[in-house]
């Protein structure tokens, strides 16, 4: 019968209309600014720099300014200047650090390649997305102070991944320590006071506190 297809279609729309009042399968929208969808754990937006300690973010950055991410970044949005001197990182090891670390988020495409290539687990993907501004240049250019976020924040947004990363870092640190110990034992005469570079003072809880390098 002519028109039966039309009537059948109207039946479907009626079903959806009625269903939208009681069936969550048929009402899938949210009133955005008031209601927010839960972000999946893997969700990624612009990168941030992981620091070990929230109170001293600049002193405990994991980044050593190796510039691998700067080279690998496809749209070239990262800009790094590394330091000429060294200072102790969170574990007390003397390290080069980034004097300047900028990410131009107007260029960044959130592809995560910087995270993948970083050998130091120093750069991770953030989850903030409400970052619209009126200024095209300055506000979208994030410097290292804006980029640094503590490890606790990383645990908050990517719990599974962060736990894996922490376990891996701990294992690496232990292995390095044992290696250093093994290297140190055959010649006990050398260095009664451990030099800050070779056998690093262990306690990671007391990171850069008092760790100012000798000038």
């Amino acid at each position: 019968m002519l028109g039966s297809g039309l009537l059948q279609g109207l039946k479907v729309t009626a079903k959806n209309l009625v269903g939208s009042f009681h069936d969550p399968e048929r009402l899938t929208t949210l009133e955005y600014p008031e209601q927010k969808a839960k972000l999946p754990e893997n969700y990624r937006n612009f990168p941030f720099l992981v620091s070990e300690n929230a109170t001293d973010p600049m002193g405990t950055l994991r980044c050593v300014g190796c510039q691998i991410c700067e080279k690998e970044c496809p749209p070239q949005c990262i800009y790094i200047e590394k330091s000429k001197d060294k200072k102790p990182d969170a574990t007390g090891k003397m390290q080069v650090y980034p004097v300047v670390f900028d990410i131009d988020t107007s260029v960044c495409m959130s592809c995560q390649i910087c995270v993948e290539v970083c050998p130091f687990e120093a750069i991770k993907m953030d989850q903030v997305f409400e970052i619209a501004t009126k200024d095209r240049f300055t506000a979208l250019l994030l410097d290292r102070n804006q980029l640094a976020k503590p490890n606790s924040y990383y645990h908050e947004i990517h719990p599974t991944e962060a736990a894996e990363v922490d376990a891996r870092l701990l294992a690496e640190r232990k292995a390095a320590e044992e290696k250093a110990k093994a290297a140190a034992t055959p010649k006990p005469a050398v260095a009664p006071t451990p030099s800050p570079t070779a056998t690093a003072p262990k306690p990671p809880e007391a990171p850069a506190a008092g760790g100012t390098p000798a000038p």
Partner: protein, 258 residues
């Protein structure tokens, strides 16, 4: 099963006496070898490839260009030079430089939908990169070449004789260069950005020479300037920084430590 590329080449040579067909080996693991066709009989050969009952390459999937600019090749050969004093002959390494001529290449990937085999890769090579750039069009043989050959014409500058509608396709009609060539120079259309580096920094210096110096101490703290603002502040004594352009403040080395 499809016959080998050698057999295809031999059949083409037998069918077209005086034609040129060269087998180009592909050294990589993919081992997709190809046939370079001489330009004078290429269109007839393409028709043969399409209509031959054993090949029936009725589907031309991909058409693309490749630019091979002129390359200087240094070859070293060992030559024995007899000693004029009568001693033992010396072996001398002689280096010869030769210029490998550049050319443009059009690559066609042919498949058969009827017999479900392929690819047979066909290459056409131009005489050089500037005046002998005409190759026969395969659009009369396979319609799928129409837009793709236009693209090769647009981006590489290969001219296709017998193409029904050879116009630029992606660039606008008034554009004169061919952007996919290796020696293409981008137009100088630098737009200011806060963190130029690499090649962009060179452009930035050319466009904003006044800001290509570090900020005077008065400007320290204001991290980034627009070019106009920075130009004003350069009246004070300035220090050239490593990076050249930046007007950013260089932090003290002890920053971040208590």
């Amino acid at each position: 099963m499809m016959e080998t590329l050698e057999q295809v080449r031999d059949r083409l040579l037998a069918r077209f006496p005086g034609g040129e067909v060269t087998l180009i080996a592909n050294p990589g693991p993919a081992a997709q070898h190809s046939l370079a066709l001489g330009l004078n009989q290429a269109a007839a050969m393409a028709l043969f490839l399409r209509d031959d009952p054993d090949l029936r390459l009725d589907y031309c999937s991909n058409v693309t260009g490749v630019d091979w600019p002129e390359k200087e090749i240094v070859e070293s050969t060992k030559v024995t030079v007899p000693d004029p004093a009568g001693g033992p002959a010396k072996v001398v390494e002689q280096k010869t430089k030769r210029i490998q001529p550049g050319y443009l290449e059009v690559v066609y990937h042919l498949y058969s939908m009827a017999l479900k085999h392929g690819p047979v890769i066909v290459r056409l090579r131009t005489g050089n990169r500037h005046d002998q750039v005409t190759v026969p069009s395969f659009t009369p043989v396979w319609r799928s070449c129409e837009f793709q050959e236009r693209e090769v014409f647009d981006l590489f500058g290969v001219k296709f004789s017998d193409h029904p509608d050879l116009r630029r396709i992606l660039m606008w009609d008034e554009f004169t260069a061919h952007p996919m060539r290796k020696d293409y120079v981008e137009p100088d259309d630098y737009e200011w950005e806060p963190t130029p580096h690499g090649t962009v920094l060179e452009k930035a210096k050319a466009h904003y020479p006044a800001t290509a110096v570090a900020a005077p101490t008065a400007a320290v703290g204001a991290a980034h300037h627009t070019p106009a603002a920075a130009a004003v502040t350069t009246a004070a004594p300035v220090v050239r920084s490593d990076t050249g352009l930046e007007t950013r403040a260089t932090p003290a080395p002890k920053e971040g430590t208590p």
